[in-house]
Each structure stands twice: as C-alpha cells, then as structure tokens.
C-alpha cells in the first residue's frame, strides 16, 4: 500500500520540510537543523528502499501514480521511475542529506539556506521521476532559481579562472565575455556567476520548452504523458527533427556540453559547498537524463542519426575540460572543469547507443554525483577554515586534517577512475561499448584519462602533502559528528557500489534496454523489433 505512494513521499517530504521551516525562527538553530535533517532523511531512507525493492524482473516504469491536474490541457501529475531514474533519485536524496550537514555552520540566514536546499533537492528528484513532459519541465525550471539565490546570498567572489587562452595572454589581464560585457558585472563577482548560470540555464530551458510544446501540439493527442506519446504519437519527420534539436540543445547546456559549458565552473566556484554538491552532483545530470528520457525515448530515428556528432563533441568536452582543469589554481575550478570533462565521457557513452556503453553512461552519472559531492564537500570544509581555495597557498594539510585528506584522496581517486571506485566501472563500460562504434574517439578519450590523473595528483599533492604552510597552522580536522556524517556516507557509497556494482548495473540495464530496442527498431524499421520493444516496455523479459 505504501509502495503506491513511495514516489510522492520522496518528492514531497522536502517540500513539507521547507514549508515547516518557514514558520521557525532562525534563533532556534537546533530546531532548524532537526527539521532539515528529518525531512531530508526521509527521502534518503525511502529512496534507498526504492532501489532495494525495484523489481529487476519486471523492468519498465515502476511505482507509477497518476493524478489528473488539468483535463483541458491534458496535464497529469504522473510519476514513475525506471532503471535510470531510480539511482539518480537516490543520488539526489543522498546529496541533499549530506548538503544539510555540510552547511551546518552557515551563520547567515540558516533557515533560508535549508529551505533553498530542500526545494532544490525536491525539484531535482521531481525531474528524475516525472513521466509527464509538463511536470518534467516544471521541476526542471524550478531547480534553476534556488541556485541563483544560493550564489547571490551565500556565494563567494572568485579569484577568476584561467581559460585556454590564459597561457598565451599575460596573467591578470582583464578578459571580457558576452555576459559581463552586456550586463556590466565584475567578472569575478558572485553576481556575475549567478546571473551567468541562471541565464544560460533559463535560455536552455525556454528552447526546450518550445520543443516540448511542439511535441504536445503536433501529436494532437492533447497529452503531455511521455509513455502515451511514445506509443501513439505520430509526428511528421521534419517536426520530429526540429523538436529533437530544440529539446537536445535546450537540455544540453545544463550538462555542460562543449560550447555551453562556461557557466558551470564559475557557478560551482562561487556557490556555497552544499549548492555546488547538488549542482555538480545531480542537477548537471539532469541534462543527460532528460536527453535520454525525452530525445532517446521519443525520437529514436533522430537520435541514431545525430549521435556521431555528439561523439565528437564529447571528445572535445573531455579534452577541453581536462586541459583547462590542469591550468587552474583554484581547487573548486579544478573540480568544476574535471566535471565538465566527465560529462564528455557520459556523452560518449550515450552516443555509442549500445547496451554496455549506455548503461555505463548512466552508471557514470551516479558515480560522478558521488565523487563530485565528496570533493565539493571537502573543498567547502577546507575553505570554511582557511578562507582560500588557492591550491598554491594550501599545503601539507595532512598534518592537520588526516581524516579529510583520506576522504579527499578517495574522492579524487574515484574521480580519476581508480579501480574500486565507481567511476572506474562507468568509464570502463563506456570505453568497452564505445570501442565497437567509435574506436578513434575512444582512444582519444582514454588518452585524456592520463591528464585527469595528472591534475588530480598534482592538486592532491600540493594541497595535502609536503610541508605545512605556516599560515594554515590553525586548521583542524573534521572531528565533530555532523562534519563526519556526510563524508562517511559519500565515501561509503562510492566504494560500496564501486566494489559491488552488480545489482546497480542490472537495475540500470532494465532502464536502458527499452530505449535501445526502440532505437534499434527505428533504425532497422522491423515490425518484429517493435513488438519486442513493446514486450519490454510492458514488463516482458528481454
């Protein structure tokens, strides 16, 4: 009985928590903490249970629940998760829960901080479980705004980042880009970061909204229901092409795909740690997720047609992200750009369109969420004490904070793909799958891994090992329980699923297989394959 409403519980618990927090004064810090922990803990526990009871035999969209929201517009509040959504719901809940602890020490407007975080987490999970295009967009758009508030209210001014041209130009020379040229912001200010992030993502959102509206209107079914559109929707070829493009280009910027990536490292660097964790961890993955959910699922023909292009962009992403990360002097920028590079691996896995690579890409989504969450949490912890993120001015931190160092090494190692971490499994699956389709791109991507090793090693060595910088003598380790809880949780999840990925991968494969069989059916055009596809979508076994 409870299982029928399991998704609603996960989705609405943080909203309820946020509403309750409105009526609590900031003076009662303990109460604020307690409420935030409770209402972010509920979704974590329930979504862990969700992964546990997800029926691998059955596959398809499970735990569906549908409430009509407006008949005349054909909108219904339709939730359901498949093998792709389930792990990401868990990742969102976990990062939200950890974010509450990471921001335990926020002094300024703690209540508002938690409200923002709960709304952000809830909106993210909403996207991962929506089966109605309208609500998918609804939650997507809802997730953009809290980030703006995070950045402007609790953000920090950055020191600026070094881009590719930075090697050639003199250092410190003022460079302007479109956003600060038109809008007259100081490029290193948090306001600039906030506005850039919000405008990039909103522009993407409205482009995809146009695509969604086209699909809604042109199918003539008067419904936003994804499953119904996939089964019955007949679209003329050119409309399909346009809609595919609009939706892809609309959702790709949040995944930091190559020409639209520049908001992300700046945004993460300026954001408070909990917001960076959420954004780099799970919000960024909304891009790939929505592309898989909408583009792959609804437009199999166009997907098959355009994926070779995506494979090339993915390689650019990998190289660009890796090399620029190498140049950075600010920890958060290094992590931010490494996340841009990771998005490239995921896109490469998606572009290969076979079972192992697409599952690997989805697995990578989850793995990267854990690694990014851990690294941003740690860099936030260090920044809170040292008030600098400059790699050069840190050093020898292991003498003062052994526990943090240990966690950071695990996070960095997981991030550059050491066996035993989750990223390794994802990366390996992507490479194996992609090798069959795009051998050249795969070789290039594998070469870029070396760069990733290099900058993570360099950063870890400079920050934590060697002699202690005397200015950093006042630092202390994460000793209090609320400092340790998020780190232990994230390390545990990174290692646990890295060592035992079996159950996880079989869940993901169940989500991936109906999409792939749709794409295969569309490209071969055989009726038999379509029947197989229906069988899988309706719960048959592949």
């Amino acid at each position: 009985m409870l299982d029928d409403y399991i998704l609603s519980i996960i989705l609405f618990a943080p909203f309820v928590g946020a509403s309750i927090l409105f009526f609590v004064s900031n003076k009662h810090r303990d109460l604020v903490h307690a409420i935030a922990v409770t209402f972010s803990g509920i979704p974590l526990i329930v979504s862990g249970y969700l992964l546990y009871i997800f029926d691998i035999e059955k596959g398809g969209f499970q735990f569906q629940q549908q409430t009509v929201w407006s008949e005349s517009l054909g909108i219904s509040f339709f939730l359901g998760v498949d093998g792709i959504g389930t792990p990401m719901v868990l990742a969102s809940a976990l990062l939200m829960f950890c974010g509450i602890f990471v921001s335990w020490n926020v002094q300024d407007r703690l209540k508002e901080f938690y409200i923002n975080l709960l709304v952000l987490g809830s909106a993210t999970m909403g996207v991962y479980m929506s089966l109605d295009l309208f609500f998918l967009f609804f939650f997507y758009e809802l997730s953009v705004i809290p980030m703006y508030l995070f950045l402007t209210m609790w953000g920090r001014h950055t020191k600026g980042y070094t881009d590719m041209k930075g090697i050639l130009n003199m250092e410190g020379k003022e460079k302007r880009d479109s956003v600060n040229f038109f809008l007259n912001f100081n490029k290193n200010s948090k306001e600039y970061a906030a506005m850039k992030l919000t405008l990039y993502l909103s522009l993407g959102a409205v482009v995809s909204l146009l695509g969604i509206l086209l699909v809604y209107v042109e199918t003539g079914l008067n419904t936003f229901n994804i499953i119904e559109i996939a089964e019955k929707g007949k679209l003329p070829g050119n409309i399909r092409e346009i809609a595919f493009f609009l939706i892809f280009i609309g959702f790709a910027p949040i995944a930091a795909i190559f020409p639209f990536h520049s908001w992300s490292p700046v945004g993460y660097a300026a954001a408070p740690p909990a917001a960076s964790m959420m954004h780099a961890g799970v919000l960024k993955k909304l891009g790939q997720f929505t592309i898989i959910r909408i583009c792959f699922y609804l437009f199999p023909v166009e997907t098959a047609e355009w994926m070779p292009v995506i494979a090339i962009i993915a390689v650019i992403n990998i190289f660009y992200g890796a090399f620029v990360a190498f140049l950075q002097k600010d920890t958060k920028f290094v992590i931010g750009y490494s996340s841009v590079a990771h998005m490239g691996y995921i896109f490469l896995g998606m572009a290969s369109l076979n079972m192992i690579s697409l599952s690997g890409a989805v697995f990578f989504l989850y793995a990267d969420a854990m690694a990014m969450g851990l690294l941003f949490a740690l860099s936030g912890f260090i920044y809170y004490q040292s008030h600098t993120m400059d790699i050069g001015s840190l050093g020898g931190l292991v003498h003062k904070m052994p526990f943090v160092t240990c966690c950071f090494v695990v996070g960095a190692a997981a991030s550059f793909g050491i066996p035993g971490g989750m990223n390794f499994v994802g990366e390996l699956m992507v490479f194996i799958g992609a090798w069959e389709v795009y051998p050249v791109q795969t070789i290039l991507a594998a070469i870029a891994v070396v760069v990733t090793w290099a900058y993570y090693f360099r950063m870890t060595r400079t920050m934590f090992f060697g002699d202690l910088n005397p200015k950093m003598a006042h630092l202390r380790d994460a000793t209090r329980w609320f400092e340790r809880v998020p780190l232990i949780l994230l390390v545990f999840f990174t290692l646990f699923f890295g060592i035992f990925p079996g159950h996880f991968i079989s869940v993901i494969e169940k989500g991936v297989s109906p999409i792939l069989s749709r794409i295969n059916a569309a490209s071969t055009g055989s009726a038999i394959a379509q029947q197989v596809d229906r069988g899988i979508a309706n719960g048959g076994d592949s």
């Binding site: 929201w69 407006s70 005349s72 517009l73 407007r109 309208f134 609804f138 939650f139 758009e141 809802l142 953009v144 705004i145 703006y148 508030l149 402007t152 209210m153 809008l183 306001e191 906030a194 506005m195 919000t198 405008l199 909103s202 522009l203 409205v206 482009v207 909204l209 146009l210 509206l213 086209l214 809604y216 209107v217």
Partner: protein, 488 residues
Amino acid sequence: MAPPVLTLADLQLSLIAPELWMTLLTCIVLILDFACPKLSKPKLAYLSMAGMGLITLQLVGYAIEGKAGISFGGMFVLDPLALFFKIFILLSTILMTLASIDALEKIPHFRGEYYFLLLFSALGMMFMVSANDFLSLFITLEFSTFGFYILVAYLRDDLKSNEAAIKFFILGALAAAMIAYGVSLVYGETGTVLFQEIVAMRPEATVGLMIGLLFIFIGVSYKLGAVPFHTWVPDVYQGAPTTVTAYLSVVPKAATFGIFLRVVLGTFLDLKADWQWMIVAIAVLSMTYGNITAIAQKNMKRLLAYSGIAQIGTVLIGLAAGTKMGSDAILFYLLTYLFANIGAFIVVIIFQNLTDKDDIEDLAGLNRRSPLMAFAMLLFLLSLAGVPPLAGFIGKVYVLAAAVNQGLIFLVAVALINMVISFYYYLIVVKKIYAVEPTETTPIQISSHLKIALYVSIAGVLLLGIWPKPFIEASVAATSVFTDLVLR
C-alpha cells in the same frame, strides 16, 4: 408605422441588476462622504468593500445559474465572459480598496472621494465588459477612464502626479479620437455598429474596414499600455499614487481585454487572416520594447511599468492565436497577472508608506528588514518572470501552447527569448532584496490591512501555480461564448 413601444419588461433589468446595485453603492459612498464629514474614512472603505462583496456574490449566483441575455436593443450583453470579467473587476477592486486604506491616511485631503472614484471606475468597467456594440464600447471606455484621470492627479501638490495626469489625459483623448474614427469607418463599411449584426453580415476584408480595425486596435493599445501607445505608462505609473498605479496596472487592462476579445474573436473572427499580423506586431513590439527598456530602470514603479508593457505583449499572444484555447489562456493569464502584479505593488505601497521612497536601490536588504515582504516580492517577481511553481509559469505555458497550436512559432520564439531577458531584471531586484546589506536596519511593521492584502496575493500566486485546475475550468467556461464562433 408606429415606433415600437419599449416597456420595462423588455429591458430585462435583472441583467443589469449588479450594475444598478453598484451605482447605488457608488452614490451612497459619495453622499455619505459629503453629508457626514465626521465619518472616519476607513469606514467608507469597509462599506464599499462589503457592498462590492455582496454584488460579487450576486454575480457568482448568476454564473452558477447560467444567466445570460441581451438587453437595451442589443447594446448590453450578459454572458459567461462578461460575468467572469465582472467578478474579476470587483474582486480586484476589493483587494485594492483594502490596500489603499493606509496609504490614504497619509493624504491630507479628499480622502473620501478616493473610494467613490474607485467604485465609479469599477462601475464603468463593469459596463464595458458587457458592451455589445461599438457605441457602447466607446462610451464605456471613456466612462471607465474618467475616474482614472482624477485618481492619477490625486496628489495635487505633487508635480509628478500632475504631469502624469496631463500625459494620461492628452494621450487618452487622442486614443479616444482614434477609436471613434475607426468605429466610424467600420460603420461606414458595414452600416451597423451592433456586433451581432456585423457577425451576421460576414463582412469582406475591404480596405476601409481594415483601416477602421487598425485604428481601433491602436486606440485600444492605449488602454492596454501596449506599443505603440505605451509612452504614458512609465510616467503615469511613477507619478500616480502607488495605490492607483497598482489598480491601473491590472484592472483596466483586464477589462479592456474583455471587450477586445469580444470585438476581435466574437465579431471579426472571419477576418483572422487579415488582423492576425496586427496583433502579432503589437505583441512582438510590446514584449521586446518592454523587457529591454525595463533593464535600465532605477525606479521600482517604472520597472513594473515596463514589465507590465511586456506582460501585456505576452497576453496578446493568446489573442493572436485567435482560438478558444487562446482566449482561455488570456483569461487565465490575466488572473495570474492580477495577483502577481498587484502583489508586487502592494510591497511597494508598504515600503512607500514607511519611507516615501520607491527606487530599486532603496529596496536593498529588504530581507533583513521584513522577511515577509522580501519573500512576497520574490514570489511575485518570479511569478511575473514565469517560474514554477508559481502562477505566471502556468499562464505563460498556456498562452504559448495556444500559439504553437496555431503555428505561430516565430512569435513563440520571441516570447521565449523575452522570458529570459525578463529573468535578468527581475533577478536583479531579487538580488538587491536578498543579497545586499541594507543601509537602514529598522524592521518594517506591516499594518493589518496591508498584511491581509499581501497574504491574499501570495495565496493567489501559489494557488494558481500549484492547483490551477478550478481556475482553468472557470476560464474555459467563460470563453464558452466563443465555441460556436470558433467552429465556424
């Protein structure tokens, strides 16, 4: 042939009963104000709110009963569309009366007439949404504007208020002349001013008729505050008392849409191919001009004025679609606009009552001084920007869906880009309110009247965003008058 004898029964007075009650209420408020100078002015406000509440109930009764009919020789029509707008007008007038009480206590003179003038304008607009021919359209448009001319000039010692009134009046007169000229051309082409007769004639798109329609559209765009007759908007919004601005920014525009829908969709739907481009042009220009100019504003009231121009442009998209879905979307959008825009102005009113300032710079750090006001402003601005889960988001998607349905992809693309531009200036205000430290830190006390008005607006913005179903259904029911027309 003897002229037909008009009896009282032919007039079907029950159709205009709400207007008659309203007239009575208006007179009572005026007379009480004169006859009992000792009477405290808020009591007049309570009286008019109670009266309007009762009339609203009567109108709701009519709506449930399904009362409809045509009277006064075809000049006056009562149908679901008119009922929707009448209820809209009365509810927003009640809300604004409530929000005006405190601000008026600061004005040294003429406190009573304010309520009278507000009621008088509302009465004019109630007639306006029931106008069923071009003559009553013209008369009621002027009728409803009269009250506003005086209201805008209410701060008679204030230069800006006077300037605003003069601009408002001169441009209003010009727009009225244009409408009158357009009506005369339409009459010349069709030989009648009654909407029904024009529909029955199925007129061809002759040059004279199209020029007439063009003049009417331009004149009406003055009332809507849309490009090309938008120039009065910022100055009047800034100069007029903020309570009047708040009212002016929503209610007359909504009422004008009520009559505009009747003209464009109800009467000239057959000529859609010929007038669609005009509406598209007005919409594109209004949105783009409003949003781009809003970026540069330093004054909160001017910012809301320019954002209002852009919002009206967005509403016009629904009209350009020219379908029943488009008109549903307009009605729903106007509801969302009512709460968001009046709400934003209420925040400005509260702030102005205390500090006499209304620049964006002055709002800095509002969050530290009054978390409620800051949060309310955040909701209202984000609703205007179209962010879920707030009302404006649903309204925008609704309007855009209607336009995509008619293949107006270019218009929708312009609207979406404008949505992003509007994000910028709304978010700049949000940043000022939340992220900048205030120069003055005294907490702001909100009086109970304004608090109620603020809570009502917040509730409206949230309710329409999270559970819009009943409101969408109300809009769909109200536009049922167009069903048979659209099918034709």
